[in-house]
Structures are given as C-alpha cells and as structure tokens.
Amino acid sequence: MIAVPQARWSEPLGQALMLALAALVAALVALPVVALVLRVPPGALLAQLGTQGVQEALWLSLTTSVAAALVSLVIGLPMAHLLATRSFPGKRVLEILMDLPMVIPPTVAGFALLMAFGRAGLLGGSLTAFGISLPFTTAGVVLAQVFMAVPFFVGAARAGLSAVDPRYLDAAATLRAGEMHTFWRVRLPLALPSLVAGLAMAWARALGEFGATITFAGNLAGVTRTVPLDVYLLLHEDLEAAATLSLLLIVMAAVLLAAMRQAGLGLFAPPRAPRFAPPRAG
C-alpha cells in the first residue's frame, strides 16, 4: 500500500533538504582530500618516495598487508563457507564474533591482542616456550592486520557463497558430488567475484591499519613502522612529508575502489537481479 502524500507543500522542502544534506556529506568527505592535495607541493610525491624512511615504511606496508590479506583468505574461507551453508547452535554468536573487529576501536583491538598474544598474555607463556614473540615484530604487525581485516573477507565471501543459485548446487547433488567437490567446482567459481572483492577490502583494511598495530606491535622503523604509523610520526616532524604520504595512501585506496567498481565488485553494491527467479514452494 502506498501512502498518499498529505502535505504537498512539503515536497519541495524535502527535495531541498535531501540535496542540501547530500551536498554536505559530499563536501565532508571531499574537502579533507582536496585540502591534502593542496598541501602537497608539486613533485613532492616522487621526492618523498626516494627517502629511505618512506621506502622502508612502504615496503613494510605492502608486504605485511599482502600477507595479512592472504592469511585472511586461507583462514577466512572455511569460516565463510560454514556460515554460508550450515546452521548450527551458536551460529548467531559466531556471526557477531566475526563482525566484532569491524566495530571495535583498533586501539582496543591492539590492547586485547596484547592480553592474548603478548609476552604476559594468555598464550604468551606457550608462545615463548616455542621461541615465538609477537609484540614488536613484523609478524605482530601482520597479526594485528589480520585481526582487523579478516571480517571484511569473511563477510564478503559468505555473502557471495550463499548467493550461489541453488539450482547449480542441486544439479551437482544429482551428480553425487560431495560437499567439498561441490565447493571447489561449483560454489567457489560462482562466488569468485565476491571472494576477490572481499580479498581487496581485507587488503585495503590491512594497508590502512594503525591503532591495533601501534598498540600491539609498537613503532620501529623497518620492523613495525608501516606507512600509517609513519604518517603519524611525520605529523610532528614534517607536515609536507606527512601530507604526501597520506595522499599516496588515499590514491592507492581510490584506485582500488575504482578498479573494483570497474569489475562490478562494489563493496556495498546493490545485489544484482537474479538471472531467473528462484523456485518457490507451493
């Protein structure tokens, strides 16, 4: 049932309000980016890329974030499959758990990681016994990034895996394909775009990770000082350099988002219409 408009005079007002607020949010996001671009002296990007500190930070950021994305893929895919295909007691709790890192403050995440994996943490003694120490190490950076990034992969992969048309799965079942076989040969290929989108988002989240890293892994050049940490440090040393490096991160993120759009993999893209209506009971 469609409600009949009662007060027509308010229609233009509503339109104006909508456009004004939309302009406001666009300005809110665009202005800081523009301000940053204006702050960066021409040619500074290349000059900055030449400095040793920036190269170290950039290399560290790239290697750790790629590692974090790959770890997220390996450990996130089975979870995404479970959540997409099965119902079991405690699933709700598990779902909330998997979303949790997306909404808790990264500093809190870093502190919690210390409580768990730090030298004096829950698992600290066992890890030390194996000669493993995570805080203040590059591996600790990756762990912090995985913690923050894995929900993005699991969420996207799960959505993709559960959106696979059941007819294909039914067809596989009639051919007596087992669950694992169906997963690898049917579900995974069909959900591939979502997996790629999830992987890209996990990578981007890992690349931008700051709070959990600085809290859990510390801040040391070449070991744990990734680009976001370097930006933070440069804020108090060299504003032009900080702006340049910030711009670099923004450009990388924008290119990633543009590439995903181009490939039809928007993060929150509206679900595409099903190619044919799912069969309805009755």
């Binding site: 469609i2 409600a3 408009p5 009662q6 007060a7 308010s10 229609e11 007002l13 509503g14 339109q15 309000l17 909508m18 210390l114 730090g118 030298r119 004096a120 805080p135 203040f136 600085i214 510390g218 801040n219 040391l220 070991v223 744990t224 933070y232 440090l233 804020l235 108090h236 040393e237 504003l239």
Partner: protein
C-alpha cells in the same frame, strides 16, 4: 524510506538532527578552560583542574594530555586551547616561534629520568650497563617526544663514563624495539611486561605502578633534568588562563607538584 514518495514533514529524525546541531551553542554559555598538557603531567594537572573548578564555580576545566610534540603541532594546526604546558623548552619554543602563545612561558617544575623495569624483571636488568646487553627489549619515547629526547641525551652522556663503553648509547639503542608517542605509553609497555626496560620520568611511576615496576636511578651528571614551561595560548581566554597558571605557580600548586614527585623549577642552593 524514500524522500518525496511520502509526506516530507520534518520527522523525529530532523528534530534530533537540529538538536544535535544546536547543542554545542547551548553548552557554550558555561565557561570552559582548555588546558593542553604533556602526558607526564596527567595526575598533577587532574588535581589542578579539580582545584580550579572548586575555586571558579561555573568554569569547567577540560584537560588534554599528549606528547608535547602532539600538543604543539595541534595548536599550530588550529586546535583550540587556553593554556599550554610542555615537558621541554623545545616545543614551547616551537609554539612561541609560530606566534601561538599569548604571553611569556614560565618554568614551573622539573623532573628526573629513571629506568623502569617490570617487577618480574624478565630481562635481568640490575644496573644501567645491562641496558646494552644484546637481545634486551627496550622501549623509549620517540626522538621527537621530550622524554625520548632526554632519554637519548642521558644515554649519550653515559658514553665513556666510568664503567661504561664509549659507544654505550649505540649499544643500548640497538635494543630498541619500539618508539612510543608519549612517555606514558613507555610505562604502559613495561607495566604490561612486553618490554624489559624503558626510560620515563620519576613521576610517571604512580602509586599503582609501584607494585608492578622497579626503578633504576640514573645518577645526576647523566640525568638531563626535564623542564616544564607553561604559557597562555594566543586566542584563548586570557583571564582564565592567567588564573590557572597562577594556581600552578602558587605555593599551594608547587606543594602539590612536590607531592607528585616533581622538582621545583629552580634548584635550591
């Protein structure tokens, strides 16, 4: 919900939005004094804030603590504050050079550096020389942070001191596992037993930390005593700022700083 298909009369959301936009205006009628202070001043300035509010009804003191380098650069970028108190002269000088101050800076306290060690002493640090033992996990404040600058200066002064190698500072800095953004983060990493040792101010080891931390003194000639200047900030509320600075410099204020472990501004003969 789609705009335009239904009545666009301002709904509850619009009222909440309007309230949220207007709230700061309503609150501004009460006076607020904003004090940006070095992280190591946290407890002492919390006390000053409470004392000031008691003495000035209707005034709320908002205290903002961070590394001095953060405070100074925030002011430079347009952050609002009425009073600035830093942990070294360098960042106060930085603020003065950029015309961020509304008056002269006065040194109101000094502070000693100490080495902090977890009570469990996982790195077996018994004397200053142990800081150079390879494999030790040492945490310092970053070189831009006043405490970080003082720490490095102290290590430099120990180079070639009796019982210390000439390259003592380089050996110690090779053990550095993290450069923290303020001195309190250094103490936190040591308290959490993640680091084997750190260098902080004597005043950073509060009553609650004493059970968890052991202190190693740094002898006087090698201890660059930290100086804390305070000044009113340009564009701030002059009268309130002056009153707050007056409180810090008063006999009562100086006594309070002494109970918190700070040294008086000028060495008494």
């Amino acid at each position: 919900m789609r705009f335009g298909t239904r009545s666009a009369r301002p709904g509850p959301q619009a009222i909440v939005l309007a309230a949220a936009l207007l709230a700061p205006i309503a609150l501004a009628s009460q006076q607020t004094l904003t004090v940006s202070a070095a992280a190591s001043l946290t407890e002492a300035f919390d006390d000053f804030g409470r004392a000031f509010e008691r003495a000035h009804p209707g005034v709320t003191v908002r205290l903002h603590y961070s590394g001095s380098q953060v405070l100074a650069t925030q002011l430079e970028q347009g952050a609002k504050a009425d009073v600035l108190a830093t942990a070294d002269q360098r960042w106060m000088h930085y603020a003065r050079e950029r015309a961020l101050l509304a008056g002269d800076a006065v040194t109101f306290a000094r502070n000693r550096l100490v080495v902090v060690i977890p009570r469990a002493n996982p790195g077996f640090v018994e004397k200053l020389q142990d800081l150079a033992r390879p494999g030790l996990k040492l945490v310092l404040a970053g070189a831009q942070v006043p405490a970080g600058g003082y720490s490095r200066e102290s290590l430099r002064r120990l180079n070639g001191a009796p019982g210390f190698p000439a390259s003592f500072d380089r050996q110690v800095l090779a053990n550095l596992v993290s450069e923290e953004e303020n001195v309190r983060a250094v103490v936190a990493k040591v308290r959490l037993r993640e680091a084997d040792a750190g260098i902080a101010y004597a005043t950073d080891v509060g009553a609650r930390d004493r059970a968890a931390l052991t202190i190693l003194e740094i002898p006087d000639p090698y201890n660059p005593i930290a100086e804390y200047p305070i000044a009113p900030v340009a564009g701030g509320q002059r009268a309130l700022a002056a009153a707050f600075i007056g409180l810090v410099l008063s006999a009562e204020g100086q006594a309070l700083l002494a109970t918190r472990g700070f040294l008086p501004p000028v060495a008494r003969p």
